[in-house]
Symmetry: C3
Subunit: 316 residues, 3 copies
């Protein structure tokens, strides 16, 4: 595995889940594998869980970690080939990426979408150029359109908690006060479509996700209809894909509550965090035994560790 930016980068997602669950039991079993190997973590946007869990994963494998916060304004990267750089950009991404690839054995990079130019966001301008120029294995720490480390941790969590061979998993849009990226729901959708679960997405009209990721999902616009018999309910806000980056106002209240959850098969609640409590999901659900939010967050360590281990085995 040279890149980890989408579920399509891996041959067998469930095998990776099993590897991650094994590492969760024995985190230090490969603590020599990363000796003299350096992981560079580059953040063009802020991070809490992703930075700490990935750093921890690397240290469990004996790697060194260097963190770079490249504020877009402080160290603006030029993305256009052939640009005459007499403006605000201080370095071309081809130079920055090539240099960082010389200093690191594996690079993780986070770059959020601008949410104004759909085409630029969805062609993953920054990530793709970075991968092309840095020459070393690259892990997405959440790109403009996908967040595969989160989805791998989510799938691990479902695997740990599922009671039937083919559980029903519902991704439900949730309210928020800001325009958020589609990366987490896109990514969750593409992983669920490969995970051997019954996968349903529910959201208000106008919030359809990009079909590249949802073509195998069942989409239901009535939240209560979708929830029936669910084993897992994943809550997440996203901004409109078709009316790109916009916040639409649904007429119903889409916040997940205990009374709505009564329609499910005593389902577990999932969320990638940070969660806007009592806006996206009610406190009583988040603090209930059915909530998996902390387990998902803990699994982020071992998701990252499984990916790093696979990459290290290739480059050692």
């Amino acid at each position: 595995m040279k890149y980890f930016t989408t579920v399509n980068d891996i041959a067998d997602p469930m095998a990776l889940v099993k590897e991650a669950l094994k590492l969760k039991k024995q985190p230090y079993a490969f603590s020599e594998l990363g000796k003299h190997k350096t992981l560079g973590l580059i953040f063009l946007n802020p991070s809490l869980r992703t930075r700490l869990s990935t750093q921890k994963a690397a240290m469990n494998l004996g790697m060194q970690v260097m963190v770079m916060n490249i504020d877009k304004e402080g160290w603006a990267l030029e993305l256009e080939d052939g640009a005459v750089m007499n403006g605000n950009t201080v370095e071309h991404i081809k130079d920055a990426a090539a240099v960082m690839g010389q200093y690191c054995d594996i690079i993780g990079i986070r770059c959020f979408p601008g949410l104004t130019d759909k085409k630029a966001d969805y062609c993953e301008k920054i990530l793709v150029q970075f991968m092309h120029h840095c020459k070393v294995p690259v892990i997405s720490l959440e790109s403009a359109t996908l967040h595969p480390l989160q989805s791998l941790a989510d799938l691990m969590t479902i695997e740990e908690k599922k009671k039937t061979a083919k559980p029903k998993v519902v991704l439900s849009w949730a309210p928020h006060i800001k325009a958020l990226p589609q990366a987490v729901p896109n990514s969750f959708a593409e992983w669920m479509c490969k995970a051997g679960v019954e996968f349903v997405i529910t959201h208000p009209a106008g919030y359809e996700l990009c079909e590249d990721y949802t073509s195998k999902a069942k989409i239901i616009h009535t939240q209560e209809e979708a929830l029936k018999g669910a084993d897992f309910v994943y809550l997440k806000n996203w901004s409109s894909y078709h009316d790109y980056g916009k916040v639409l106002s649904p007429s119903e209240n889409w916040m997940m509550t205990k009374s709505k959850m009564e329609l499910t098969n005593n389902a577990h609640i999932m969320h990638c965090l940070p969660v806007r409590r009592n806006v996206e999901v009610s406190d009583e659900l988040l603090d209930s035994p059915q909530s998996l939010i902390l387990q998902q967050a803990e699994n982020r360590i071992y998701a990252a560790q499984a990916v790093l281990k696979t990459m290290l085995e290739k480059i050692s």
Copy 2:
């Protein structure tokens, strides 16, 4: 020891001082104790000495260290239980703390007071909630009201330098241009009251500290009277506790000078740094052989190391 946030968290302060002084002589004697253990250092306010000395202490014990600067505005934490989070806060402290507790074996956290709401500051809203939700041992890296790592280092320094069994230690208010927290003087007072020294506090009227920490101290409002026969003089500014967070203007000049020090028993000068030279204390004192400011700063390493060692021994 699960928490280190006040002198009351430890059974025997002098035993901890002795442990720290032993580590100062052999910093690497326990360099395997922290293997595969991670210290998370969370700063809601900036830090220089505390970050570097605590990081160094952890590395001396073989720990991994992850530093998180959580700017209050950039990643505002919600503190109210049951809040409808449709405002500026992006994550509830209960979620942030619980997640960080999963990624770290021990957590250090710094959170200064706002100096506007005395009750909120003195109930240590952030620290207490963080401890409650993170589940792992917590070290205060200076809270709203106390700074125990500083006080432990101060007590180590007095122990190293004292010439009599029961030296006279004077804490003297010093001028400053800003409103500063009461954490360092509160903390110094609560440690000195347990340290077997003769402890005197001197400050202008109106600068009385919270009595929870000073009830066993002798308080004298005339600086020159207080200094008589002192063996150690600790200088520090603080804002008013009773007229909360305010800067009052004393009629006398409270800056410590060489001529005032002639009243003492050739006392040592102490300050936690950073010091406003020639405002709080004169250069000639700070640069004299009687100054212990650098020794205090050096001892910060071993104070933190003694606390970490004690915690590691419990969780190993």
Copy 3:
């Protein structure tokens, strides 16, 4: 070697180059040398290559690294002896440096010039005071006037690529939209003057560098004249030294292009990065096989490692 701030700090520059080239072949040959030794990297100005390459170098030697970003405004240091600190500065450099020297075995520090007060910049006020007060070995990570780690990496690169015993090396001023420091060209000049090469500097009138560094160089104001027969062409912008910190407008276009390079002996192109593409140098040159920019950047690791190794051998 206690300090590494100028070529004059080392007895034999070519011996250090050879040491660095040896480390490039065997980066982990001395991975125990830095055990229990801490490198502190202090940035008063932002850094990408320097931070990562120096951190990597230290880790290759088994050192621990602590990075401090001291924003000049956030933690303003007082530089004047005897100052009454009732203004914006929060700590005297004598205290900050002395404390950091207690926490670190070697310190690297970056402090750019203000470009308004030539005398203050060229007496290296911050660096010199820091060295004086911190007591431990100090490495310049680029000071107001020099950038020796860059020059050492540059000389390594020339040594690797030269085809004759005494190659012709041309330092050519290049256009830019901002006023940049003279540190890189000053430093390159002082190293080249000791390197046994034929060294020529070319720049528009008014861009003369400080003679302390260029007295042994041949200076030619006609770029095309200077380029004739060159084996290496080093491109770099700098602001005026004599009309201090100013950007003058040359009547000619000084951007380096392929057609100008035809005057050379099929010369290599060098630049310290970041480079303003198609302003300082054209894309076709930077992306050609003659470009050494990535090799220079890679050599930054081993330049730093050679310096650290030399220092560690002294203090072990």
